[in-house]
Each structure stands twice: as structure tokens, then as C-alpha cells.
């Protein structure tokens, strides 16, 4: 058995290795995206989806990726799997070195969050072809890891006693996984807004604009909209559960299950915004742009809770381990 210090060092090396692999994956995805740039998009009409009885909207399918683009897209996916494996091993080594679950401070949360985003992406990739999404997902992953190893880094060690609770494992795992999904959904939603804007420009007789080359590479605005929604609909119950698990933990640690601590307040705000998003879609039929803005607002609240509240607002949840 290697010593704790060796394991901690190994963990760092693995995290750097994963960042390298993510970076190369990003390059491969970029090549894939750039292949055929400038070529005229082949737009195929698709039979209308079985919808809720509304008039079938004219839909577009992504044109088949050019062979070269497809190849580098595959390389990107392979590298993505590799990078995610490195990251998983790095997180595991960190946990072994500290003899605990490896999410006790912001550095560790960030690594876990980057892993969660990647995991959500890879799980989706098992069910459908999302090579086009790779480059957009790898960006926040690299950003998160970059911040983690530079600004937020703290060395491996034991946890403060408040964190000795199996509810930590449950609550934080649920929160990180739902956060990863919100992030992937947010990326899809931003992409949706870009494509939707191009569609509107084209409909108004304008040029597609600088991002026009994306159109043949990614699904239609409609499909992006639906994908963004599905991810949230699937993960919202988990986020709800994460908040409840947090409340159970707070009850056993602090003697109250809810105390409007800043962290709790922002978890609530995030929850309410996403609940509003689901409502707006389900009951008053908001889809598309307006729903997209609500969804991004929800993600912004989630991110603020993570970076903003941990670093700038003091509360009982001061476990960031930064500074």
C-alpha cells in the first residue's frame, strides 16, 4: 500500500493528466467542428415528430458530418473517456490518501463537479450521438479544473468533525451530480440560443452571421430545446433530494433543518427557479427562448451558490478550505 503522501501526489498527477487529455479532446472536437466550415449546409427535411397535435414545425437535421470531422469527433470522444477515467482515478486516489470521501473542500468539490459534468455527458453519449456537444462541454470542465488546481487547491487531509456524517456523502453527491446535469443542460441551452438566433436572422433574410457554420453541425433549435429540458426534468428530483438530504444533515448537526443560511437560501432560490422553469414549460407552454432564459437563470443561481457563497458570503457552510 503506497503511503498517503504518495497517493496524494498520484492524485495530483492524475488530475493534471486528465486536464491534458481534456485539452487534446477539445482540440479534436474543434477540428471536427471546423471540418467543412464554409461548406453549404445540407438541409434535410425531417418527418414531423409526433407532437402534441400542434402544427408540425419545419425541422432540420444536422447534415452528416464530413468524414474528416467524424474521425476527429471520434478521437475526441475516446480522449474524453480517457480524461474522465484519469479524473475518476485522481479523485479516488485523493479519497484513499485522506481516508474519507474526497469531497470535503472546494478543490475536491470542483474536481468532483468536473467529473459529474463529464459523467453526465458520457451517459448521454451512450444513448445518442452527441459528438457535436463535446467541445461545448469540455470548456466548462477545463475551466472548473483550472480554477480548482490554481485558485482553490488545498492539500489532502482529514475533515473537520462537522463533516463526519454519511449525510455528507449523500447530500454532496446528489448536489454535485445534479449540478453536473444543470451545467450540461446550460451548455445545451446556450447553444440553443445561438442557433435560434441564427434561425431568426435567416428567417428575416439576413446572413446567418459568424456562428452560422454551427448550424449544419448541431441539432436543430427545437431538438436542443428539448434536450436541455429533458436533462433538467430528469435531474430536478435529484436536486430536490439533495436539498432535503442537506436539511436532514443540518438537523443533526445544528439543531434545525432549515435556517436560511446563505447556502441554504441559494439552494432554495435555485430550486424555485428550476421549478418555475418546469412550470412555465408544462403549464403555460413557454418553450424556446423565454424558457431558455429561465433555465440559464437557474444555472446562474447554482453557480453563484457554489463560487459566490463559498468565497464571498460567510455562513455556517464555511467548509471551502480556501485561503
Amino acid at each position: 500500500m503506497p503511503s498517503d503522501a504518495t497517493l496524494a501526489q498520484l492524485s495530483n498527477i492524475l488530475v493534471y493528466a486528465s486536464m491534458t487529455a481534456f485539452t487534446v479532446a477539445m482540440i479534436a472536437f474543434a477540428v471536427s467542428l471546423a471540418a467543412g466550415r464554409g461548406k453549404v449546409a445540407e438541409v434535410v427535411a425531417e418527418p414531423a415528430l409526433v407532437g402534441g397535435g400542434q402544427a408540425p414545425a419545419p425541422l432540420q437535421m444536422p447534415a452528416p458530418l464530413l468524414a474528416s470531422g467524424r474521425r476527429s469527433g471520434n478521437v475526441g470522444m475516446s480522449l474524453y473517456w480517457l480524461a474522465t477515467t484519469f479524473l475518476a482515478l485522481g479523485i479516488a486516489a485523493r479519497g484513499l490518501s485522506a481516508h474519507r470521501l474526497p469531497w470535503g473542500n472546494m478543490y475536491e468539490f470542483s474536481c468532483a463537479a468536473a467529473f459529474a459534468v463529464s459523467l453526465v455527458f458520457l451517459v448521454i453519449s451512450l444513448r445518442r450521438d452527441v459528438r457535436w456537444l463535446g467541445i461545448f462541454v469540455v470548456l466548462p470542465v477545463l475551466l472548473t479544473l483550472g480554477l480548482a488546481v490554481t485558485v482553490l487547491y488545498s492539500t489532502s487531509g482529514p475533515l473537520v468533525p462537522e463533516l463526519h456524517s454519511y449525510w455528507l456523502g449523500i447530500h454532496v453527491t446528489a448536489a454535485i451530480l445534479s449540478g453536473g446535469s444543470f451545467c450540461v443542460s446550460g451548455v445545451v441551452t446556450i447553444l440553443y440560443l445561438a442557433i435560434e438566433r441564427i434561425d431568426r436572422r435567416v428567417a428575416a433574410g439576413l446572413t446567418p452571421g459568424r456562428l452560422g457554420f454551427l448550424v449544419p453541425k448541431v441539432p436543430t433549435a427545437d431538438r436542443l430545446d428539448t434536450l436541455g429540458y429533458r436533462i433538467i426534468a430528469f435531474m430536478f428530483p435529484l436536486w430536490t433530494f439533495a436539498v432535503i438530504a442537506g436539511a436532514i444533515w443540518a438537523e443533526s448537526a445544528w439543531g434545525r433543518y432549515w435556517g436560511w443560511d446563505p447556502k441554504e437560501t441559494w439552494a432554495f432560490i435555485t430550486w424555485v427557479i428550476y421549478a418555475g422553469y418546469l412550470h412555465a414549460r408544462a403549464t403555460i407552454g413557454w418553450r424556446g427562448r423565454r424558457a431558455a432564459y429561465i433555465s440559464l437563470l437557474g444555472f446562474a443561481a447554482f453557480i453563484f451558490n457554489y463560487y459566490g457563497v463559498n468565497l464571498f458570503v460567510t455562513g455556517l457552510h464555511s467548509f471551502a478550505g480556501v485561503g
Partner: protein, 531 residues
């Protein structure tokens, strides 16, 4: 029909112009229970919470509120008046969530009624030409309708029932061409609405649980020194809050005694000084004189006494200070609670000794592991009491205890005091005050625990309803409500026309796979005839 949300909405299709008082009432009720207003209220709730997270709140950080008010003499009182320092107890916050929950009740009750009816109703009649629906499928089989029709319908109904669709089977209504036709209609996914209603009702019950907690719950905080204890009465707590319906003179009469406080710290390494483990070893009894039991309270492991729970939420040092006056009489002999200022337990505290003339005030810094830093002065470099020191400054004059203004026990009111001297003491040291008025002895140091005692009779309800809400949500977001129809009719050329179609909500996955599997089975019964 295709949008279940539409027939579930309680909102009027067009705004009615209200007539008279009752008209207005009805109009307001409709508006309140409409989805748009509910959504606005939902977002308002999120918006209203924000100041509660950015400004210090009276309930949790009263001292920070006062500091804010002092630092912002203009803005502070204004914010105070509109409730920014007590957001979650403010009238406007309550107004938002109460309106939201009224709206919720007004929405859920009619929806429950509709849903119960839908659960008993037959699936809707098939459209005249299902194949004209998006995704509809049609084919012709050469056998005559009178013969093939019933077979197809029975096969369809059996298949669908086996897959737990609720089906309705309507036989051929006429044997005569060209009107003859029959259908099977099927519906599935009622659990979506059931789950959705469960979720919304659970939210209402959650509010009830929270309400019970805030009406019948109470909470107190008390600092207990090693060797000391407290009884569960309001006067023994340093702070105490209780719901409006709590009988404060009749709290359960338990007692808790702190035998010892135990803590170990990480020594060395990057996390030097982080606590590894702490525990308050206590003896408690449910009433004075009742049998006593021993227990350890640790982080995340409160002690339950009856329905109340005792939590360990903080700890610190209490130096033992003894003061003798000029005549050698003991005028002060106590463990003085010092409040920690940093992670290494550099702690501050004061002792007030009114029984001397002039009165004596001692202001101190306690360092569990003392080092005098050339820049920062005396600080502690490790949280355990490895090398304790007490730095005292002595003040003489009038402590101001009789001024009528309540004083903090952690601060001296310096207005009528003047400092006579300062001194660093090690355990056992005695300091003879330079004016000869007496001596101060640092006799040793004990620890104290900050305990929080709480009883929330609503929390069980809150937990159960919150978990129910999750289950309801999962049903509501994963089950898809869908309808499916099979219609057989005369093909017009002596054969049978079979039409199959289905509908789901727009956001759900399409039903084409289910349709395809059904069609495949039916084609076995009624093979397609190529013209």
C-alpha cells in the same frame, strides 16, 4: 384535448370583466389560482429571498446587523424598516408564500377532482380518421371488415391490456358499408398526474409541518462549563426563542451536566490544528431527581431527551480566575467564558468584580498555546492548551452595572474606567495589582461547550412530506401520459382499413416505438394487401 395542461388549468380562457363585489371576488380568486399568477409568485419568492442571503439577519447574526447599522447610518435604518435584516420573518415574504400556497390549494383541489373523475372515465373516443394525426399509420387488408374487424380489435385490446394500458373497446357499430367502423381506444400514464398532485399536496403538508414547528417549537442556547450544568427552564438559557403556542413555564424539566469536554487536534501537517474529534461527555436526567444517564454529544450526534434534542454547536476555554481584595478576602472565583477569535483559539473575555472599591474590571486574552509575535503581539499557535497564558489588563473605576443599560458579559464599559496595568500570567501565577488593591490569580483553565437545545414537533411531518414530494416529482416527470387508438373501417374496396395513431405531450418522447410494436402485432392478424 391534446394538451392535458389546457384542460387542467383553472384559469378562465378569457379575462372576465368583473361585475359587482362578488364578481370582483371571483375574478380575484380566478386570477390568484391562475398559472401565470402562480408563476409570478414563485419567481417573486426567489427574488425576495436574495436580500436574506446578502444582508446579515437578526435571527442568526444580530451583532453583524448592529455593526451594519453602525457602519451605514443612512442606508441601514431604511433597510431595517423594510425588513431586510429579517427577510424570512417579514410581512412581505410571508405574503408571497401565503398567496402562493393559497393559489396552490386553489389549483390542486379542482385538479384532484378532475383527476379522480379521469381515473374512472373511459379513455376518449377514437378520432374518425386516426391516420390523419401526426405519426398515424394506416394499411388495408383484403379480408372483409365484418370478419377481420373484430379480430383486429380483440388483438389490439388484448395486446394493450397486457401492457397495462387502460382500454375501451367499441365493437363495430354497423355491419353496413360504408359507415361501419369500430375502435379500441387506450390511455396510459395516469401516474403522471397522480404524482404531480401528490407533489403539490406534499408541498402544502410541508408548509403545515413548518407551521407546527414554528408555533409549537422552541430553541435555547446555553454555555456550560466543565463541571457545570443547566436545567431546561427559560431563565437558564443565554438565548431562548419559542413559538407562539409554547407554554414557556412548562418546558420538560430535564437537566444536563457537563462532566468533561474532550477534543483532539491534528498535530503537524498542512492541516495542523484542525479538530479531529470532539465530544461533550454529559450526564442527563429527564427530571430533577430522576435516574441519570451518561452520553457523549458530538458533531452530528445530538442527545435526545424526550422529544427535545441537545446539540453541541461550539466550545472554548474558560480560565479560572480568583481575585482577593486588600484584606485577602476572595471577591471573585469563577471560570470565565472566553470567546474564541480564531482557529487557534486566541480568545477574549472579561471579568467584572463589583465587590471592590473602586470596582475592578479585567479584560483578557487567553492563549492556549502562547507565542508573542513581534508584529501581531500575543497570539495562539495551536488550539490545544499546550502552553496556556492569560494576558490581563486591569481597569479601575465604575463598571456601570447600575446604569440600567443591559451590558454584555463579554465587554467592559470603559466610560468610567481607567487602566491601571497589564500582565501576562501562566497557570498558577498570582499578580499583585500595582495599586495594592488586591491580587489576581490565574488558577487554571477549563473548557466549556455551547449547547443548543431544540424541540421541533413539526419536523417529522416536514420530512415525510418532503420525501413524498420527491416521489411525486419523479412520477410526474418520468411517466408520460399517452393515448392510442386503433380504428377499423371499410376500405371502400371490400377490404378492411386499419388505422393506428397515438398522442403524447409535446415535451415527452414520442410514442412511435410503442405504435410500431403494436402495428407489427396487428399486421400479423391483418396482413397488408399490396394493391
Amino acid at each position: 384535448m391534446s394538451d392535458p395542461g389546457a384542460d387542467l388549468s383553472t384559469a378562465p380562457a378569457t379575462p372576465v370583466v368583473p361585475i359587482g363585489f362578488r364578481g370582483w371576488l371571483r375574478w380575484m380568486w380566478r386570477a390568484l389560482t391562475s398559472m401565470r399568477v402562480a408563476l409570478v409568485l414563485l419567481f417573486l419568492l426567489a427574488l425576495a429571498s436574495i436580500p436574506g442571503s446578502l444582508f446579515p439577519q437578526r435571527g442568526s447574526k444580530p451583532t453583524e446587523v448592529n455593526a451594519y447599522l453602525a457602519a451605514h447610518p443612512k442606508l441601514g435604518p431604511l433597510l431595517d424598516r423594510i425588513g431586510f435584516f429579517n427577510v424570512f420573518g417579514s410581512a412581505w415574504f410571508a405574503a408571497i408564500y401565503l398567496l402562493l400556497f393559497i393559489s396552490l390549494a386553489g389549483c390542486v383541489i379542482p385538479r384532484t377532482r378532475l383527476h379522480l373523475r379521469a381515473l374512472r372515465a373511459r379513455p376518449p373516443i377514437a378520432p374518425a380518421h386516426p391516420a390523419r394525426l401526426p405519426g398515424g399509420i394506416a394499411w388495408v387488408s383484403s379480408l372483409p371488415l365484418a370478419e377481420l374487424g373484430p379480430q383486429v380489435l380483440v388483438a389490439a385490446a388484448d395486446t394493450l391490456r397486457a401492457k397495462r394500458w387502460r382500454t375501451d373497446h367499441v365493437e363495430l357499430n354497423s355491419e353496413v358499408a360504408p359507415k361501419a367502423s369500430g375502435f379500441v381506444s387506450a390511455e396510459k400514464g395516469y401516474a403522471r398526474e397522480t404524482g404531480n398532485l401528490l407533489f403539490h399536496v406534499a408541498l402544502l403538508v410541508l408548509l403545515v409541518g413548518i407551521g407546527i414547528g414554528s408555533a409549537f417549537g422552541w430553541k435555547g442556547q446555553v454555555i456550560v462549563k466543565e463541571g457545570g450544568g443547566f436545567a431546561n427552564t427559560v431563565t437558564q438559557y443565554d438565548t431562548f426563542t419559542a413559538g407562539r403556542l409554547v407554554n414557556q413555564s412548562n418546558l420538560p424539566p430535564f437537566t444536563v451536566h457537563l462532566d468533561a469536554f474532550d477534543i483532539t487536534y491534528q498535530a503537524g501537517g498542512p492541516q495542523n490544528g484542525e479538530p479531529l474529534y470532539f465530544a461533550a461527555h454529559v450526564t442527563s436526567s429527564s427530571a430533577p431527581g430522576a435516574s441519570a444517564t451518561s452520553a457523549a454529544i458530538t458533531a452530528n450526534h445530538p442527545l435526545g431527551i424526550g422529544t427535545a434534542r441537545v446539540y453541541l454547536i461550539g466550545h472554548g476555554y474558560a480560565p479560572h480566575v480568583v481575585v482577593h481584595d486588600r484584606q485577602g478576602k476572595v471577591v471573585f472565583d469563577d471560570l470565565v467564558v472566553f470567546l474564541p477569535q480564531d482557529g487557534n483559539f486566541t480568545s477574549q473575555g472579561v471579568a467584572k468584580i463589583p465587590d471592590m472599591t473602586p470596582q475592578l474590571g479585567l479584560q483578557g486574552i487567553f492563549l492556549p498555546t502562547a507565542v508573542v509575535d513581534p508584529v501581531r503581539g500575543p497570539i495562539s499557535v495551536f488550539p490545544a492548551a499546550q502552553d496556556p497564558a492569560l494576558f490581563l489588563s486591569a481597569w479601575r473605576g465604575d463598571l456601570g452595572l447600575n446604569s440600567g443599560v443591559p451590558q454584555s458579559v463579554y465587554r467592559l464599559d470603559m466610560t468610567h474606567l481607567s487602566r491601571i496595568s497589564i500582565k501576562a500570567l501562566r497557570p498558577g501565577d498570582t499578580w499583585t495589582l500595582p495599586d495594592g488593591s488586591g491580587t489576581v490569580t490565574f488558577a487554571g483553565v477549563a473548557q466549556y461547550a455551547t449547547l443548543s437545545v431544540a424541540d421541533d414537533p413539526g419536523k417529522g411531518i416536514a420530512l415525510a412530506s418532503a420525501l413524498t414530494a420527491v416521489v411525486g416529482l419523479m412520477l410526474s416527470l418520468s411517466v408520460r401520459r399517452r393515448r392510442l387508438w386503433v380504428r377499423v373501417s371499410n376500405s371502400g374496396s371490400g377490404g378492411t382499413l386499419i388505422e393506428v395513431a397515438g398522442l403524447t405531450r409535446a415535451d415527452s418522447t414520442d410514442i412511435s416505438a410503442e405504435l410500431a410494436s403494436l402495428v407489427e402485432g396487428l399486421r400479423g392478424v391483418a396482413p397488408e394487401t399490396k394493391e
